[in-house]
Amino acid sequence: MASKTTAAAWRIFSPFTLHSPCSISALNIRQCSSKLATKQDTTPKGSPFRPAVSSTHDWIGPPNPLSNLRPIVYHIPENESDLQKRLRHLRQETEDWNHDFWTKQNFSFTKQKEEFIISQLKAEGLTLRDEEGRRRSLDSEVMAVFYKGFLDTNGVRHSSYNNEWYRRNFTITMLMARVALRNIWRTVTKRNDNNSTSAT
């Protein structure tokens, strides 16, 4: 539990960089709670369900509790071309960047919501819990003030995230298309070569 919170803290308070290196440390710290195999980790873990690098596909995991995004372990093919490497790096980087943003977002939302509720209850002179030990909830009209405030304060950040996300998503998809086309081309030319060599 403690390791998870320190990991979360590290991710939240680390500088918000777009060029975070897709290093073991970044992966490890983010995902240390689920202890999955990283790209560099060659020893397959105990349970048969854990993804090892020797697999033939990417693996996608359960949603991260902080960012609600699902982590992906990328498969590295043997003869990885430059294009594939670029794609993989971009996907990994985008994943980390997304995780950063959403962890921060969810964390600050929850924190500010708690503070808002507590301050509102204090203003009314009520305790956080009522006689039966249940948490008091505020009226939805009152909460709406908080929700609106949250959106307003984060407006610029959201729109810049938006633009960046659209750009990255588009680039990743275009790269995937190029990789797929190149693979098809390779398969076709290899088959032609095989046909021509078998014919001669």
């Binding site: 977002q105 929850t110 307003d152």
Partner: protein, 477 residues
């Protein structure tokens, strides 16, 4: 089938246990307190308690693999009700994780109880995982913890369970139809095609079955494309909202490239079909609708509240397209049919978004319900009343007879009444009522309009006209 005997039995058991426990409260341990809290709750919770008893009989619960109990997959047509705020409070008392070793018979029902409830209100494949997610996301303040030895075991069990949820990112061909259906939001597409069919049926021309089929197919394909591209754009946002976190792209069932290919495979034939087999105007409207939905509405959702108005236009275009498919031109009737859908969108969407305010705010969506709540209610009311106005205009434009405003008045008044209640009270209950009403109100309105359709008077060919009328009247809308 099992409910009545179980009801009485567990009710009896519960009552007797409660009496005993109330007498011995100081000497009892945590389990008693939990039981009492269980019974103090809303009686509707007893149903989930019985559900649990039924489940326990039905499913094998292995000792260390309690987490693997199969939860019946629930796929309601629309997930609307999000009772997160309620469940978060209840979760405060419950023991945070299921501990299989410490077989507290009470802690199990407690845990599964609060799990079953969110299971009903939100879609999720693994109830517990999302429950834990919500725990950490909402920042559990004051959750009671078990003794340390129990915690370590549950952590390890949790690790193993999380490991099992890792899946290979490869396409499972058997799942593809289901994945495509989810991508295309097939139920929403069906409703879109229905509204387009209504526009087609209301057009004052002889009914052409082939044209009807081709235009419905084209409009359906265009809708599939728009929905897929929308999901392609919104992956991280969808992951963070309860309503949408089980979409195929979020779960990694297919890659983004695959989704885009599917969208192109639907969109290009769809628009081509509309342009070539129907008429260019309908094709143009189809392409325009796709553009409006994917490139205007989707980005605008995060920038400004005007997204709702753009979305209303997107919803209004299908019946217009149906009309233009039948007649080939943009008549007054087309705009009227579009107007019905446009006005209907506001009570429908505003009521839906009212109960999702927290999710929208956290996800960064700018919706009227979050930023301008009073405008949200006002607009819903205004447009519900507008429906009455439009129904009155229909016979003036020769689309329907004068019977239509009269027979549609009851349902229009009812939805306006609910919108008024929503305007005054502005709570979850009234929003939910309005939303559910809007779901049946629109099909009813379109059906009534069709039954009151103005019969075409064609003096040159009376038998043909009669035949056409007979065809039209036998056409199901």
């Amino acid at each position: 089938m099992y409910k009545t005997p179980c009801c009485r039995l567990s009710g009896l058991v519960g009552l007797s246990v409660k009496q005993k426990l109330v007498l011995n409260v100081p000497q009892c341990n945590q389990s008693a307190r939990n039981l009492i809290q269980l019974h103090r709750r809303d009686p509707s919770n007893w149903l989930t308690y019985q559900h649990l008893i039924f489940l326990k009989r039905q499913y094998v619960i292995k000792n260390s693999e309690l987490h693997q109990r199969a939860i019946p997959k629930q796929a309601p047509a629309l997930t609307i009700v999000n009772e997160r705020e309620d469940t978060i409070e209840r979760r405060v008392q419950r023991i945070p994780t299921i501990d299989p070793a410490d077989r507290h018979t009470v802690s199990q029902p407690e845990d599964v109880n609060s799990d079953a409830q969110p299971g009903i209100s939100t879609l999720k494949p693994v109830a517990e995982d999302a429950a834990e997610q919500r725990d950490s996301v909402s920042g559990t303040v004051g959750t009671s913890h078990e003794t340390p030895h129990v915690h370590m075991e549950t952590d390890k069990a949790k690790e193993e369970r999380l490991d099992r949820q890792w899946k290979q990112l490869k396409v499972i061909v058997a799942d593809l139809p289901d994945v495509y259906a989810k991508l295309a939001k097939i139920k929403l597409t069906a409703l879109v095609v229905t509204s387009a069919a209504a526009g087609f049926a209301m057009a004052p021309v002889p009914f052409d079955p082939l044209l009807f089929f081709v235009s419905s197919l084209g409009i359906g394909l265009a809708s599939c494309t728009a929905n897929t591209i929308n999901q392609f754009f919104e992956v991280p946002f969808d992951s963070n909202m309860n309503r949408t976190k089980n979409r195929p792209l979020v779960r990694g069932q297919i890659s983004p490239l695959h989704a885009v290919s599917f969208a192109l495979a639907c969109g290009i034939p769809g628009v081509a079909l509309l342009t070539l087999a129907v008429n260019p105007l309908t094709g143009f409207l189809g392409a325009l609708n796709i553009f409006l939905y994917t490139c205007c509405y989707t980005p605008l959702k995060r920038l400004s509240i005007t997204n709702t108005w753009v979305g209303a236009v997107v919803g209004a275009l299908p019946p217009v397209m149906g009309w233009t498919a039948a007649t080939g031109c943009l008549g007054q009737g087309a705009l009227l049919m579009g107007g019905f859908l446009y006005c209907w969108q506001f009570p429908h969407f505003n009521a839906l978004s009212w109960n999702l305010r927290e999710d929208y705010s956290r996800g960064g969506y700018r919706m009227m319900s979050v930023t301008h709540p009073s405008m949200c209610k006002r607009v819903a009311l205004r447009h519900s009343l507008g429906l009455i106005g439009l129904s009155t205009v229909a016979p003036v434009l020769d689309v329907t007879t004068w019977t239509f405003p009269i027979i549609s008045l009851p349902i229009n008044l009812y939805i306006s009444y609910l919108a008024f209640r929503f305007y005054r009270e502005g709570d979850r209950g009234s929003a939910r009522k309005l939303f559910f009403c809007s779901l049946w109100h629109l099909p009813m309105l379109l059906l009534l309009a069709f039954t009151c359709k103005k019969p075409r008077r064609d003096p040159e060919e009376p038998p043909a006209a009669a035949l056409a009328l007979a065809l039209q009247s036998s056409l199901p809308s």
